[in-house]
Amino acid sequence: MLPEFPWLSLVIWLPIIGGLAVIANGDKNAELSKRIALGVAVAAFAVSLPLWFMFDASTAAMQFVERADWIPAIKVEYSLGVDGISMPLILLTTFITIFVIIAGWDVVTYRPSYYMGAFLIMEGIMVGVFSALDAILFYFFWEAMLIPMFLIIGVWGGPNRVYATIKFFLYTFFGSVFMLIALIYMYFQADSFSILDFHALPLGMTAQVLIFIAFLLAFAVKVPMFPVHTWLPDAHVEAPTGGSVILAAIMLKIGGYGFLRFSLPITPDASAELDGLIIALSLIAVVYIGLVALVQQDMKKLIAYSSIAHMGFVTLGFFVVFAIVRHTGSADGAVMGIEGGMVQMISHGFISGALFLCVGVLYDRMHTRQIADYGGVINTMPWFGAFVVFFAMANAGLPGTSGFVGEFMVILATFRADFWYALLAATTLILAAAFTLWMVKRVIFGPVGNEQVAALKDLNRREALNLGVLAVATLAIGIWPKPLVDVMEPSIVHLVEQVQVSKLATAGVHVDAGAAVAAELVQMTPAD
């Protein structure tokens, strides 16, 4: 229809400008601010829909491309575009933000317009991260994301929010500094900041390993992967409900997205060399974190740990490709692993978002997140109980819900790589069911725990709408994942082809300087 229409810019800047407008309107007329915020969120979702409906699912090429000079002196461009990997994540972002706005409607009383504004700005920035095709633009959005989230936790957070925000900020900032160095290094090699140029850039092994590690530090913190995960439970516990939802549903996905957009295509040889590390960390996430989740006393911490375990499946699916090729001699199944990881990311967005909303529903009423303070909630909140059981089952990967699809695909793919990997991964069937349903048993079922529980009121219309729509989304993907997977397929097939082509053969010829610098860098690192 209008392929040259700047849809992506619209999806990025509409919520940012809308968010600023909401903040400008201020709290004097908070009701109006909220309405504007909701209107903006819905509009942003509406303008993101063409990305889905006008998307050409037969090609791996970037679509909805926009290019403009930004800082010509160092060839930084304002360059946007999406493929089958980023487009679904953008829709997830615009979709989830609506529920965050609705969920905050009544319960945020302290400066509500700033709260809503922060989330809208956050939304635009996250869409920017997913659509940036220029490394500096990406980095700009990547770091910008920290500011609203820092404020959201710092201003609307719980009693220990200062520790949590600083931990969150330092952890993620620590990771991203190395990424910036890697990006600048590649700029000097490629004479461009275009991410697609980086994909084509030949690199020697040492350079690849260093770049891989730099990216790993940035992305592993975001995902988060063991052992750099401990900021997440603290951040969740202190964050307001909306913050937790955005954190779990979308921000974590940016780490996963980074692996697909940067690590795998830019450093395929290093990825192939170091995939054992990622697989090991992923399996630790599934087993170790699953066990840790079991003993959590705080519902938000429990779901936070559950997120880490589920994200372990994502990274496992992404990096199992090389082990498959080594074991079977063919890449059959590799596409399924990465697609499984992607589906898991989308699904986890719905499910963890919904679970955090559920905790928010309880917290708003009783101001505690301790499992021990509840019991028998279903006696006073039967509809809410039904939703919790549904999302808990989805979290445990029940077939028919989206939670099953990604796990199933990743297990199928992992089995091709190694029986033992698959065996460890499949323990999630037991562990996820154990930690989720044990919580449900203690919180939802049983006799009424105390007088406060006895006085609880069931979901109001707004909460029911939120959870209901997320439940429908969870079911829809569980019952018919085909449209989602079809959209991704060409891009992921292309990615798997990319990672199988070594960059080493051409590296020596083209870029001697790169190898030299890499060699020096190696001498400076104590690891070597």
């Binding site: 840790v292 077939p399 199928l412 037991i430 049983g446 009424v448 069931d458 997977v485």
Partner: protein, 664 residues
């Protein structure tokens, strides 16, 4: 045909949705009407399909309903495979389900009394119960009608979900929500194996579709893979799949959830935990016969697990005093018989017993439920006695169910169980000798516990309190009609189906048996009609052992009990250590509770406290923060405030940097 099959599956789902979401609005009567209409439609159509296969030469159907997903070139589809095996399962499932739906009208009529007065979860619990059992019927049909492994797993887990919801139906009872969590987790242990089996199939067969997998299986029969130091691919796949069956069909050691599942309302004990869901594992193995036939190791494993379950779980039934638990252990034991039949490659006999058992065990459970209603929800058989005078229909139907269960000649259970024991005797896989012995002696145990319960409940002097006795009366027609409707097939179904199923190979292509494994050929070759089969059975050891059990039970709990009402307790005391062993259920529960539940929590606690909090957060994260603080404290001394100190530092730094640049 596809639209008819679709209708069979979806009618109960629609009923479940209407009763589940709009139960409060449409009221109780409309809720049970709509669900019964849905399941009734399913049952009628399923019977029609079965009739079609029996007499109208209906052809097997294998087709896709929709494509669920295409990933990496692999097609995942939702579709139906309806052959004779499926048709038999469909008819059994929907018929028992329909009976249970009708029965539930009576059983759950006063369900509000089971909830605390103020509990909102107790509102509309009647409608919700109907929604759940209809949802179960949908899930079970999806499972048995599937034509691929993915959908099989969907149905597999969906019936598990409904089972979870129904065991914990009375969610204010601690014992119920303990039992449902336990059931789900133990089943998940089975599913853990199951999904790995499916993943193995995905890898080596490149397809989820039954037909494609079975067609390719012989090619891969000799494939070895390098796991566990080299193992045959088929053995690995079959044992992994069978671990799933062990969970769902409650085979030792994954049986521990089934007795506890009796916390659920009795109608679902009959439907889910006796007649249908727990037989999903049996059905699955029979469906996978083209794979299992390729691994004698797996068959042997199946056979031994089944025989062990059959014998040792039956023994526990002897010491139970809760009427439902006696029947539950009997279910475990009978599932063991079915499993053993599969291991002996007598798939048809296993399916045959599955069907007869579905009728007589559903009957026994519903009769137990009828007794429980009359006893005002007291389930302890020590408080019963003499009920035959008060509840004639329940008494007679329970007697019929018990006779079928102990394989009394002519009753349906006789044909199926006798065939299993004979087949195991004719089997040559490793362990068939010991399995045969366990199953044969099991016949004695079965008769003993069945008639212990029967006599304690229906005969002797009434032992309940005066108030309860005063109110004793037969239950309403919605309860007794299903009892009668199930009693009829419990008597006759074996007589009419033994010949086609076991002799004429009615199941046909649905099941594959290697000629050298065929343990039913002996029976088929010497077939001279039902009467001859009965006569032959009456000369064999299992029959005499069963009669001995019946006689002993009659002597102890009918005759001795009249003089010594506490004979049961005295016997148990006399048996001392044996009773304790059985009371503790061989220690499985304690072991699981301590090692797996306790161990899991302990390990989680350890990893969290030592790993996350002490090591990562304590030492590394906060440690580096402290380190920064410490270094900053040291560095602060460098800031002396004297300008010349800074000037010197700058000059030194500049020189150093310049040297570095020049050197490069």
């Amino acid at each position: 045909m596809q639209s008819i099959y679709l209708l069979i599956v979806l009618a109960p789902l629609v009923g479940a949705i209407v009763a589940g979401f709009f139960g409060g609005r449409i009221g109780r009567v409309n809720a049970h009407r709509v669900t019964i209409a849905g399941v009734g439609l399913s049952a009628v159509l399923s019977l029609a399909v079965l009739v079609g296969f029996m007499w109208l030469d209906l052809q097997s159907f294998n087709g896709t309903v929709y494509t669920w997903m295409v990933a990496d070139g692999m097609h995942f589809e939702i579709g139906f495979l309806v052959d004779r095996l499926t048709a038999l399962m469909m008819a059994t499932v929907t018929f028992v389900s329909l009976m249970v739906h009708i029965y539930t009208i009576g059983y759950m009529a006063d369900d509000e009394h089971n909830w605390p007065h103020e509990s909102l979860a107790g509102r509309n619990s009647y409608q919700r119960f109907f929604a759940y059992i209809s949802l179960f019927t949908f899930s079970m049909l999806m499972l048995v009608m599937s034509n691929n492994f993915m959908q099989l797993f969907f149905g597999w887990e969906a019936v598990g979900l409904v089972s979870y919801l129904l065991i914990g139906f009375w969610s204010t009872r601690e014992s119920a929500i303990f039992a449902n969590l336990k059931a789900f987790l133990v089943n998940r242990v089975g599913d853990f194996g199951f999904i790995l089996g499916i993943a193995a199939i995905g890898m080596y067969f490149g397809s989820m579709d039954y037909a494609e997998v079975f067609a390719k299986a012989p090619e891969l029969a000799e494939t070895q893979i390098a796991v566990f130091g080299g193992v045959s691919l088929m053995t690995l796949i079959c044992i992994l799949l069978f671990i799933g069956a062990m969970g769902k069909s409650a085979q030792v050691p994954l049986h521990v959830w089934l007795p506890d599942s009796m916390e659920g309302p009795t109608p679902i004990s009959a439907l889910i935990h006796a007649a249908t869901m727990v037989t999903a594992g049996i059905f699955m193995v029979a469906r996978m016969s083209p794979l299992f036939e390729l691994s004698t190791t797996a068959l042997s494993f199946v056979l031994l697990v089944g025989a062990i379950t059959a014998f040792f779980m039956g023994l526990i039934g002897l010491v139970q005093n809760d009427i439902k638990r006696v029947v539950a252990y009997s279910t475990l034991s009978q599932l063991g018989y079915m499993t053993a039949a599969l291991g002996a490659s007598a798939y048809a006999a296993g399916i045959f017993h599955l069907m007869t058992h579905a009728f007589f065990k559903a009957l026994l459970f519903l009769a137990a439920g009828s007794v429980i209603i009359a006893m005002h929800h007291d389930q302890d058989i020590r408080n019963m006695g003499g009920l035959r005078k008060y509840m004639r229909i329940t008494w007679i139907t329970a007697l019929i169910g018990s006779l079928a269960l102990i394989a009394f000649p002519g009753f349906s259970g006789f044909f199926s169980k006798d065939a299993i024991i004979e087949a195991v005797g004719d089997s040559h896989v490793f362990g068939s000798g010991i399995a045969w012995l366990l199953l044969t002696v099991g016949a004695f145990v079965t008769a003993l516990y069945s008639f212990r319960m029967y006599y304690l409940v229906f005969h002797g002097k009434p032992r309940m309190d005066e108030h309860t006795r005063h109110h004793l009366h037969e239950t309403p027609w919605v309860v007794t009609v299903p009892l009668i409707a199930l009693a009829i097939p419990s008597i006759f179904i074996g007589w009419f189906t033994v010949e086609p199923l076991l002799v004429n190979n009615w199941l046909g292509d649905a099941i594959y048996v290697k000629p050298e494994h065929d343990s039913l050929h002996h029976l088929a070759e010497h077939w001279h009609g039902q009467l001859a089969f009965i006569a032959h059975g009456m000369t064999a050891l299992p029959f005499w052992l069963a009669m001995a059990g019946l006689a002993l039970a009659t002597f102890v709990w009918f005759f001795l009990h009249q003089k010594n009402p506490d004979i049961d307790a005295r016997l148990q005391r006399a048996a001392g250590p044996l009773t304790r062993l059985l009371d503790n259920k061989y220690g499985f529960d304690d072991f699981n509770q301590k090692v797996f539940a306790g161990g899991g929590r302990g390990l989680g606690q350890l990893l969290w406290q030592a790993g996350d909090r002490a090591l990562i957060d304590g030492a590394v994260v906060n440690g580096s923060a402290r380190m920064v603080g410490y270094v900053a404290g040291v560095m602060r001394h460098l800031q002396t405030g004297y300008l010349y100190h800074y000037a010197i530092a700058m000059i030194v730094g500049l020189v150093a940097l310049l040297t570095l640049f020049v050197a490069l």
